[in-house]
Symmetry: C2
Subunit: 334 residues, 2 copies
């Protein structure tokens, strides 16, 4: 069995059980069962945020197809585990703490290594709204991605990576033996790409690098190719909308995916327009955490921005060319 | 000085400093300074979620008008404190813990009293999508409201109150000496209103009660009258949209306000439509907390729903009649 076949089975389970969360929902349910062993229906529903009747229907369908059996709760069959393995989902350890703001000692060690690794990185280009998050934030993000099924077996697109999230993800995954399917960085700044490239060579990391201007129509080969997009876009409504739109276009049509978006405290009207834009594209807000990200000396926003997690349906189209200029804060002010 | 004059001063500060967060933003900034004493600019920005230059402009304007003076940080003048007092903002105690999920012993005692008080309340009418939250949740909510400037000196509208949040708010405010300006319950269910009424009489609480069908156009005297709306609406997109819309209409035009909305895990497309609806009304999502609310035996949603906090601009209009039927889950299924 290859990955496409495994995905196809999950897609069919979602169709036959009419699970609107689709592939992502079935995967979340199975992941929860893998981690919990004998998990009662209600616990699955709570952990996944999918209503009980929907989880129940999916469970029946998983049972009918021999991916799952029921004892006291739900448990995956060997076949079910094999499918998850094919999709790259193996990790049965829950995050060390239910409090996502606590950083364990082993992660602290990793952060020190990361700081050494990135000490000579290029300085922020403010004309591109670059601004570095603290290393702690970088790893808090990575843990948050993993907590929300954003790493294992995933094709991950990072839209703009002056924060060097790609290196943090690679280091974290190596340390905790998580297999990522692919990790791709898209950036306009060749300095950032060169730096990541040099570290990849030095430490044998596997990160795909693409120089690209995300304001322009993106090449077809990047669309419909990823499960996860991660971005900390330029801080204008146009920039935010455009980057999220491109992220959406990159998500695979048959499986949908998840978007992790760092965004600033916009003025209320702007924030409202931003959410109207992205929900009219079809993105579904799942969680918004104020002040999640902390930056090195980002004065305007008091060094903080928010984290948004979105369910992204497949088939998101170009939202239009109206956002193609005035993306960066600087261009707006001039 | 009366409240209208005090509000007017804050509105003018927001206009003269071009603070898009308006009255609510100036109030938040002053509240933060009152609580913190000598608060550095960046801390105010972090705590309020308003960017530094905007806080800085508002601070200058507050200084110019003699509401604030600067020593090592910002500090309110006697006049500034007087204005806040007029608006009912007095409490300088921060929530006992920065972790909003921890309930202190004094609140635990209050919860036990509440449970006794409400032990004979009417059972949920499922045809109206009623379903009671746990008493712990009820008070976790109240603490969350206070944390976010939702209680002191406020005119509060509760849209549907089978959870008896009004009683919890009244008890909490009495216990911690917080003065609420007014507390009004709107409900279609006379049983709920009668029950709250009987407890008000028994314990000398001051809660306004209105029997009203929120599906229909609401009487003019309820519009443009409140600072805060709180709701846990019927669990359809139509129901959610309609209740939030009515809540928006109740918010005062000159000051804007805050909406606290408990909402379920909708299917992604529905969730996306819900957010599109309410952001196109002008609401600005500030925080979404998955699984915040826990219910007594609400089977479909695994006894959980989410908490959303929204900035609400003044002047929200009726969103349209398209949502006037099929509000309740039951009516949709038939």
């Amino acid at each position: 069995m290859n990955r496409i076949q495994a995905e196809d089975i999950l897609v069919r389970v979602s169709l036959d059980s009419r699970l609107q969360e689709g592939y992502q929902g079935v995967r979340l349910i199975m992941r929860e069962i893998l981690r919990g062993k004998n998990v009662p229906l209600h616990d699955i529903s709570r952990a996944t945020g999918i209503p009980v009747p929907a989880v129940s229907a999916a469970r029946r369908e998983l049972e009918r197809r021999g991916l799952l059996s029921r004892r006291s709760g739900a448990i995956l069959t060997e076949y079910g585990v094999k499918i998850l393995t094919t999709l790259g989902v193996l990790d049965t350890l829950r995050p060390a703490s239910s409090d996502r703001y606590v950083i364990s000692d082993s992660v602290k060690k990793l952060i020190l290594e990361f700081e050494k690794l990135v000490s000579e990185r290029p300085s922020p280009d403010y004309s591109l709204d670059q601004s570095h998050v603290l290393s702690d934030t970088c790893f808090k993000r990575v843990m948050y991605f993993h907590e929300n099924d954003g790493l294992e077996g995933r094709d991950i697109a990072i839209l703009g990576d002056d924060d060097l999230s790609s290196l943090a993800i690679a280091m974290f995954s190596n340390r905790f033996q998580l297999e990522i399917n692919s990790l791709t960085v898209f950036d306009i700044d060749q300095r950032v790409l060169d730096f990541i490239d040099s570290k990849c060579k030095q430490f044998g990391l596997n990160i795909n690098l693409n120089e690209i201007n995300l304001i322009e129509e993106i090449p077809k080969q990047h669309k419909n190719m990823h499960d996860i997009f991660i971005t900390d876009p330029p801080y204008t409504v146009q920039g935010l909308t455009r980057f999220v739109n491109v992220g959406g276009e990159m998500i695979r049509e048959n499986t949908g995916g998840i978007g992790f978006v760092s965004y600033p405290n916009l003025r209320p009207t702007d924030n409202s327009v931003f959410f109207e834009n992205i929900s009219s594209m079809g993105l579904s807000p799942q969680e918004l955490i104020p002040g999640f990200n902390e930056y090195v000396g980002s004065q305007i926003h008091a060094s903080r921005s928010n984290m948004g997690r979105f369910f992204v349906p497949g088939g998101i189209k170009d939202f239009g060319k109206i956002f193609s200029d005035r993306i960066y804060t600087k261009s707006r002010n001039t």
